[in-house]
Structures are given as structure tokens and as C-alpha cells.
Symmetry: C2
Subunit: 300 residues, 2 copies
């Protein structure tokens, strides 16, 4: 336990279930600021990860048993891949303190509400959240205190969620450097499908397409990647289990966005085949315009 610094801490005991890029960034920020939680408890699936967490020094306590980790916590944050949430929720539900806030950082929100919602005990406040930030790195070493600076955290609390609980989660993320937006889980999943899940699906796919080419060409793909391919591979280097879970848990929105994209790509193919220069130029111009909007909003 460490004392508060300037402001009153948002929570007393904060338990992180899972300690990858996001969880370990939150822990590092909480440790550095002192006004997010007075005590940080970390749970992970393996003893090896927990040993590393102890070495890294951003937890007050580590626990291999999720049930033990959440005992007495006034905030529990699910930071594992979204496919593991249902199993974790089942294990921790009987051990959550009345009045505790249960939140998460998952990249899909309808699935989290579907999987975790029914298991939340009476008197525990469930506030689904998603900090939109990331790199291609994973694990407890990957986190850093600047990760959420100037980024957004989306909150998708079901109707009737306790306002104080929502505000506490919002305040936690504001102190992590994030801006806050509130929206429905349906809307969240559609937006994320186009800005994140589809780009990742495409990036993984094109790496496979390149890898299937004849041996000689494959070598050259690596040698000549500076010409565009490498921008796709950066995001393709992300954690396989996390992304598998995201795809499977945002299926409908992802398939819809992929279908739209495929139609557009086929239209572009047709323009290339028939030499429709004006069509191609127009599409390229739109890419530029979107890029300019990003730069103006400092997200690029």
C-alpha cells in the first residue's frame, strides 16, 4: 500500500486480470501517478508472467488464482484476450466485493456484454470499456506510460448502469491520459470493425498471400518490403490469440465491413481492367483526403 499523492485515488484496490500491453500500461501509470489506485493486484495465467511482473515492479501483489486476486478489490479490470472473459467471470463472480466496479479493456463490446453481463452479481457495477490504443507488441514488458496519451477510451455501459461507477472508470482513463466517449456496444463494434478489425484481417491475409508465392518471390517480398508491404506487416505482428478472439467476437460487423471492402476492391479491379483512369484517380484522392483529416486531428 502506498499513500495518495495530490488527488484522492479513484480506487483503493485495483485488480488487473491479465497483464499484457494494456494491463501493464495501466499498472505502470497507476504506479507512477499514485492517484489511480492505492494498491495494484495483478493476476496472469502463468507463474512465469507473474515472476516477470514482480521483476518489473509495478504491482503491489501478484496472484495466480483470479478468485484470490479480486478479493476485496473495489475495481476489477479484465485485461485478457476477450475469448477468456467468460471463463474468468465465472471464476471471479462469487468473490467480487459488493459495490465493486467490474470493467474490461476488450476490443469487442457486444460479446463482452453477452458473455460477462449475465455473470455479474447483484450489487457489482459492470462498466464495459475499450481504450483505443496499441502497438504490435504484447506481454508485461510491452506497456508504457504514454500509451493512452491523446487517445480515446470508449465506454459502453448498458442502460441503467450506476452513474458513479461509470464516472469512476471514466476518471481512471482520464488520469491515464485518455479522452472519453460513450456509445452503444452495437455502434462501437461497427466502428471498430472498420478502423481496426478489418485492417488487421487484411494485414494478416496479405502476409499469407505473399507467403504462398513461389520461394524466390517470397524472399524478394522481404527484400523489397520498403515499398508499401512493411506498413501492413507492422500491424500483422500483433498477438495471435488476442486477434483470433476479436475476429470471432465481432463476427457480424467484421464480415459486413469485409463484404463492403471486397465490393469496393472489385470495383477498383474492374477500373484497372478496363483502364478507367478517372475512377482510379478519384479513389486515390479520397485516400489523401482521409489522411489529411487524420493529420489535422493528430491521430497519425
Amino acid at each position: 500500500m502506498r499513500g495518495s499523492t495530490v488527488a484522492e485515488p479513484v480506487f483503493r484496490r485495483l485488480t488487473l486480470l491479465g497483464i499484457g500491453l494494456i494491463g501493464s500500461s495501466v499498472a505502470r501509470i497507476a504506479r507512477q501517478r499514485g492517484d489511480i489506485a492505492t494498491e495494484i493486484v495483478v493476476n496472469a495465467r502463468t507463474r512465469t508472467t507473474l515472476d516477470r511482473v514482480v521483476e518489473l515492479g509495478f504491482a503491489d501483489r501478484v496472484e495466480l488464482d483470479p478468485a484470490a486476486a479480486v478479493e476485496g478489490a473495489d475495481c476489477v479490470m479484465l485485461c485478457a484476450p476477450v475469448g477468456a472473459f467468460a471463463g474468468l467471470a465465472e471464476k471471479i463472480a462469487p468473490h467480487l466485493k459488493p459495490g465493486a466496479v467490474l470493467t474490461d479493456v476488450g476490443s469487442t463490446k457486444q460479446s463482452v456484454i453477452r458473455d460477462v453481463g449475465p455473470l455479474v452479481p447483484e450489487g457489482v457495477h459492470f462498466v464495459p470499456a475499450h481504450p483505443i490504443a496499441g502497438t504490435e507488441h504484447s506481454g508485461p514488458d510491452a506497456g508504457f506510460v504514454e500509451l493512452f496519451q491523446g487517445r480515446w477510451t470508449l465506454l459502453t455501459p448498458p442502460p441503467g448502469t450506476d452513474d458513479t461507477a461509470v464516472e469512476k472508470v471514466a476518471e481512471l482513463w482520464r488520469r491515464c491520459g485518455s479522452q472519453i466517449a460513450r456509445m452503444s456496444p452495437q455502434h462501437h463494434d461497427r466502428v471498430l470493425a472498420i478502423v481496426s478489425h478489418l485492417p488487421h484481417l487484411i494485414a494478416f491475409t496479405i502476409c499469407g498471400t505473399a507467403d504462398d508465392l513461389a520461394d524466390e518471390t517470397r524472399q524478394e517480398v522481404v527484400n523489397f518490403a520498403a515499398s508499401g508491404f512493411r506498413d501492413f506487416t507492422r500491424i500483422a505482428a500483433s498477438d495471435p490469440v488476442m486477434w483470433r478472439d476479436i475476429f470471432l467476437n465481432n463476427r457480424e460487423a467484421l464480415l459486413e465491413m469485409l463484404a463492403r471492402f471486397t465490393e469496393d476492391a472489385q470495383a477498383m479491379a474492374r477500373a484497372v481492367r478496363w483502364g478507367d483512369a478517372a475512377y482510379i484517380e478519384d479513389k486515390v484522392e479520397r485516400g489523401r483526403k482521409i489522411r489529411r483529416s487524420l493529420i489535422e486531428r493528430k491521430q497519425a
Copy 2:
């Protein structure tokens, strides 16, 4: 005219037709090193661009007329979008000096050989080349001397091309910091289709797909781009005319790679729809492997 420094300059008069990112980088390097050419002549389509070139100070002389620009040059480098090559070649052909080397920096090589090859006068050596380097910026201000450092330049001279001419072009690119590989134009166009042209087509397309979404979602695409989308938009900010020309001039290989990619994306969609977790994980793992190869080869 400036004197040579250490080594003998590769060429006496080097004429650059077009002065965007690639041309202006070559000019800057030639200016700085002094051992690439003793005189740099620059031609561009507009007086405005040439005025800017004069201000930037990397040319010994500027010429609005391509025919005048190539007079007496022992190396002429086509640095315009590939769609402009045929027109330029027609204008300059009667004015090329016997024994001169004609080369280019175009991203498609079969089309360049098809368009320019037949116009090259007897006694002029045509050495098609493609430096694989770039940023999303364009114009004479975009160039910089480090652009080609550690990158590759691909040479695709037709059988029977004069060896001395090929070696001179290779030496020019080596002095620009580039490594050299020689291959057939067919092979070049296939490799570039997968490492560069398809990624760009995808990036332009997904920007359009996002832009077609409902107004509210479009705004959020910009706000939440940090989650993957922005990596796609960086390359989508490239020059529209250049890319239109590349797509139209590498049609067959580009359409083949897009067809392969689309099949693979559909297979991924099917795995998502039917919940085939192992398939998805395997594809994501392949992305990671390719990424690791890139890092080992320092192209990332």
C-alpha cells in the same frame, strides 16, 4: 559546372525529366557528392515547379522543353509518372546524343519497355531501372539524400543491352546508397504487384470504404484511427497520378495478386463465420513470421 571530388563522376551531364520525390532525391545526392554527374539539368511540366527547383538549388540548369533538356546529356533519367513516359520519349528521341544512356525510375517495367523501347534511337543505351524507396510525399520539396540508403534498385535491361551502360546506371544507384539486383521485367512486375501495388490498392480502397459509411461513423474513423487504420492511410496519401499510372501499367500482375488476396480474404471470412479458431490463429502467426523476417533484414 562543378569539378569532381574524389572519384571520377559516373556521367558528365545528367538530365532528370520530372523532379518529384525520386528525381529530387537523386539531384540532391548528386549535388552533395559531386561524383555522380558534373552537371545536373532538370526538366518539369510547369514553370512553377522549375522556379521551385531553382530556389532549392540542386540543379545547374532548368529547362521547360524536354528536347532542350536532353541535348548533350550522357544520361537521361525519366522520373515522371510512368503514364507520361511514351509522350516524353517521343519528344526527346531525336535529341538524344549518340552513346547516351536512357534510364528511368518507373515502378512498372514491362510497360516502360513496351512504351519507350521502340522509340529509343540506334546507339542510345536504354537501361530500365526501379529504385525501391519512397514516402507518401511528392514534389521537388519531398526529396532527401538518405532516401535510397540500404534500399534496392532493380535493373531490368533487355537482353543485349550494352554492359557498360548497365554498369554505369548500377554505379549511379550504388553511389545513391542503393543495393543492386537484376531481373526480368516480368518478374519485377509480379514482385512489385505483391509488395507495393496491391498494398496501395488496398489502402486506397479501404479509405473509400470508410468514407462511404454513415456520417457519424466516418467522423469516428478519423478519431479512432490509432487502432490500425492509420497504418493503411499513410501509404494512401501518395500521389494520385503516379498511382493511377502504376495500376494501369501493371494491370495483369496486379489483378492476379488481387485475385489471390481476395480468395485468401474470403477463406478468412469463412473461418470467422464458422468459428474456425485454429485457421485464424495460424494465419495471424504467419503474419508475425513475415514481420520477423523483415526486422532481421532491416527493411522494417
